[in-house]
């Protein structure tokens, strides 16, 4: 039983519909806050590639131009950061992970996303497929800004936003799950915002 914080009223959302879309422990923001563990990398687009690997070996690689030529979708999604802000109806242009995976043969059940700057995050393949995840390169009708993960970031909106890795450069398909960067520092391995899986053991 939580003690009552004497004199605390809090600030409720005015819209019950918005409240219903806000996971436990989150608050809504109209800003787009930035969180990253290091400096923002700036890889020139001519050097940029996206690779699907299997246990570290390239199965298929796309250049920036080749990625742009793949069929893309306009996505509208609510996003939830583990630092507690949620943002409703964010708009992205993105290539479905399903489209990328259709080009490779594999039996993997897990993926480790890898990024410029050394960041990694792990996501089960079941959460990356079936129209649930994308490689996003436009936000709100404009090229994705570097501080928000541009030129391209992973977009897995049904998990906490650290899983939507910024500056993504590929997916390593793995037979066994392997924790990524924040997952090794005590954050939850799966990260479902609706079950408030912030930290290991939640």
């Amino acid at each position: 039983m939580s003690p009552i914080s004497r004199g605390f009223r809090g600030r409720r959302s005015e819209s019950p519909a918005d409240t219903a879309r806000t996971p436990p422990g989150q608050y809504l923001t109209s800003d787009f806050p930035v969180l990253s563990a290091g400096p923002t990398p700036h890889t020139p687009l001519r050097d940029w590639t996206f690779s699907i690997q299997q246990a570290g070996t390239d199965l298929r690689t796309w250049t920036w131009q080749e990625l742009l030529e793949l069929p893309a979708e306009e996505i509208t999604a609510d996003i939830h950061c583990v630092t507690r802000w949620s943002k409703l109806d964010t708009r992205w242009r993105a290539v479905p992970i399903d489209t990328l995976l259709a080009h490779v043969d594999h039996q993997a059940r897990f993926a480790l996303a890898f990024c410029d700057g050394g960041y990694t995050t792990n996501v089960p393949l079941a959460d990356l497929t079936g129209g649930q995840a994308w490689v996003a390169y436009e936000y709100d009708g404009r090229p994705l800004a570097p501080e928000h993960g541009g030129p391209a970031r992973l977009l897995v909106p049904h998990l906490y936003f650290w899983k939507s890795a910024k500056w993504v450069r590929g997916l390593d398909l793995l037979a066994a799950d392997e924790p990524g960067f924040w997952e090794r520092y005590g954050y939850h391995n799966y990260g479902d915002p609706w079950r408030e899986q912030r930290y290991a053991g939640d």
């Binding site: 939580s2 003690p3 009552i4 914080s5 004497r6 004199g7 605390f8 009223r9 809090g10 600030r11 409720r12 422990g25 608050y27 809504l28 923001t29 109209s30 800003d31 787009f32 806050p33 930035v34 969180l35 990253s36 563990a37 290091g38 400096p39 923002t40 990398p41 630092t83 507690r84 802000w85 700057g117 050394g118 990694t120 501080e147 960067f181 924040w182 090794r184 520092y185 005590g186 930290y199 290991a200 053991g201 939640d202």
Partner: protein, 248 residues
Amino acid sequence: MAGTAVRGRLTWQVATVDEVREETASVRTIALSVPDWAGHKAGQHLDVRLTAEDGYTAERSYSIASAPGEPLAITVERLDDGEVSPYLTEELRAGDEIEIRGPIGGYFVWTGDNAATPLLLVAGGSGVVPFRSMLRHRHNLGSEAPIRLLYSARSLPDVIYRRELERADAGVAIIYTLTRQQPPGWTGHAGRLDRRLLTEAAWPAEQDPLIFVCGPTPFVEAVASGLTELGYPARRIKTERFGGAEAP
């Protein structure tokens, strides 16, 4: 990149407020008594949960201001459009209870293990809080790790922990820059923490300093980009950003 994970489940527990100390007009340090605190590392944070009478709750994260082994304390800056920080800085008083859990985060930490590595700490505003934990930790350890703290504040009255920073140990240099207002006769730096000041105050890149940058997002973006352009490798630069509708 392998790190020390936070092991086991972080459970909410009730902390009692021992003291609320005024640091600046908008900043308070809140000393807490916690029945079961597993200890923390300098640079980590904790979660606070407030509960209204009707059961509505709000949670936020705050950097830990005390050193490992010291009584637990957080330092909170009041944000005008905030939901939790106005309560913590204006309403909360000694004897009150709040829920906390932690410690959280294992990357933006300094353990003091390697005293030969120079440390550069770059703070914007209340981004100085985790660095106060690191500086106190250095003092408590008797560490001789060379540390420079570059601290950007709006004005001298906005400097948090000012008296404590003035008594910094030998081997610790505190370099201020005051962005909005400088007192008469101010001989220190004025204006934004730019490339020129970074060049002047940062350790030479050959000394391979470990760099921590903490502050509002635009500040951290500018400083971290400036440092990489000056040749400091990205892997040596750890950042913690706050920003948005309400910063932690």
